[in-house]
Every structure is written in C-alpha cells, then in structure tokens.
Amino acid sequence: MIRMLLPFGVFLGLVILLLTGLQTADQRQVIDSPLIGRPMPNFALPTLHDESATVARVDLLGKPFVLNVWGSWCPSCRVEHPLITRMGREIESPLVGLNWKDERSAAMRWLGQFGDAWDFHLFDQPGSLGIDLGVYGAPETFLIDHTGIIRHKHIGPVTAESYDDLIQKIRELETEAATS
C-alpha cells in the first residue's frame, strides 16, 4: 500500500512545487534592491531646468523625499504620470524627478505636454546616478528618509494598487522625521 502511495506523494509534491512556482513567476522578474537600508549614493548633478545649477546629495538631506526615475523615451512613465501628478499634490515632502538617460529638449517637451508635478528634476544624461542606484528600467520610485537612507524602492510604474501603500510609507517617513 505504502509502495503505491509513494509515487503518488512524489507526484503531488512536484505539482505543489510547480504550482507555487507559477504563482510567484511575476515576482521573480522584480529584483530586490540591495540598497534598501543603505545610504543614497553620492552625486552632484545639474537640474533639468538649469544647466548651471548643481544639486548634490547633501542638499536633499533633512527632509524625506521621493525620487522618481523617468525619461521621455519611457512609455510606462506616461502610464504612471497621472498618479505621480496626484502624488505631487498630496505629499508634503519634495517629489524629485531623476531624468535618466534623456535629452534635455525632449524631456522639457514631455513635461510641457503632460505636466510637471515634481519639485525639480535632476538631469542624469550619462546615467551614472542610475547605475549607482541600481536602476534597471524606468520608471522606478525610491523613498529616502531625512537622513539620506533609501527606505523603499518601487519598480515599474506606480499603479492604483501601489499608490496608497507608497503614500502611507511617505507619511511614515514624514512622522519619523518630525519626531526625531
């Protein structure tokens, strides 16, 4: 009897293994960032609107902020744009754009056409800060606390489902900054 049940048990085990594998297939595309809990890398970049201005890491410390990586060449950035616009309205912390591997003129046209809800944009044409942040495709959204530690990373477009979660996490960082 046991001898007959054994192959069946193995088969059942395989079915369960493969089924759970199928369920988590989408999540496997998303690469966990090793940067969570680590300080945001150093940088000094011009802003998109002002070539001569330089913003460095130290300029952003003191308040939590949202760093949204985008490019005018990126179709998914257009998809999330309405939610980013809403985020710009709803949060108190700065919403910083990281215009990644883009042309200045194209980026400006894109903002002119769709609207600019960000506080300002860093202009990273060579993509160096992108590499330091482990960005592997726009859009990506980072939450950084008031001490400059990367606390959360959202990969891909912000969706209606992930929006509330992001807002809640930002609020938590804001309270944390206010109480410390």
């Binding site: 595309q29 090793p34 993509g127 592997y136």
Partner: protein
C-alpha cells in the same frame, strides 16, 4: 521566362545573404583597446557572467539594451583602472544584488541551491541501497527455502 525568373531569384538570394552578413557583423560589443591580452580576456569573461537586468535572460555581452552598454563601459573602465575581478563583481552586486551575476554566491540563503542536488543524490543513494539490500535478502531467503 524561366531564365529571367531564375535570375531574379538568384539576385534576391544573393542580396539576402549579403544583408545577412551585415547584420551578423553588428555585434552589440563595442571595439575596445586593452593594454594586454589578459585584460581583454578578463573583460570577455566578465561581461559574459553579468546579467542584463533589463532583458533578464541575456548577459550584457550579447544585449543591445542601453543599460547593458553602460554596464559594459563600466566593466571596461574598471579593468583599465586596474580593479580586480572581485572588485568589479562587488561593484555590480552592491548596486544590482546577487541576481546581476549568473553565478550566485555560496552563502546562507543559497545553501539549498548549491547543496540541494548533492542532498538529493544522497537521498537517492540511500533509498537505492535500502532497496538493493531488501531485494538481496529476499532472494537469499528464497534460494535458501528452495534448497
């Protein structure tokens, strides 16, 4: 008529194979200058073991993605600057995680991955051993009973 048709066919095939050759020579890898053959070999082998994170089933060696080109440039610059393979791998891993390397490290969370096959082999050997012993005992008892 047939001759004209054949001529057109041959011409088409010839131009197709010519264009085929052109696309073949368009490798995504940029030409690079190295100080030594060792450096070039290291570059070749490193870009072969780094995953293109955009197109996840390709190494950056064969990917046309812009990010893969940037990462090839990084690897190249760091080799020229005299960084070791270990340092370059850590540089990439610090930013993109273990996933960026096709060879996962041997660490606590990858123990099952590395030792799993050995454990399975051991289980198989033990089960096989038990079955063989069981069978041998049965055969022996049977032959004794027959005698």
């Amino acid at each position: 008529m047939i001759r004209a048709f054949l001529a057109v066919l041959i011409l088409t095939l010839a131009s197709a194979s010519a264009s085929g050759q052109i696309t073949q020579s368009e490798s995504p890898i940029e030409p690079r200058d190295f100080a030594s053959q060792t450096q070039e070999d290291r570059y070749r082998s490193l870009i072969g073991e780094v995953r293109c994170t955009v197109c996840q089933n390709e190494p950056i060696e064969s990917s046309n993605a812009a990010l893969a080109a940037d990462l090839r440039e990084q690897v190249y610059q760091q080799i020229i600057d005299g960084r070791s393979d270990f340092e370059i791998r850590s540089y990439l891993r610090d930013r993109y995680g273990d996933f960026v390397l096709y060879n996962p490290p041997f660490a606590g969370h990858t123990l099952l991955l590395w030792l799993g096959p050995i454990v399975l082999l051991l289980i198989g050997l033990i089960i096989g051993g038990i079955l063989i012993r069981h069978r041998r005992k049965m055969l022996m008892e049977r032959s004794q009973a027959a005698q």
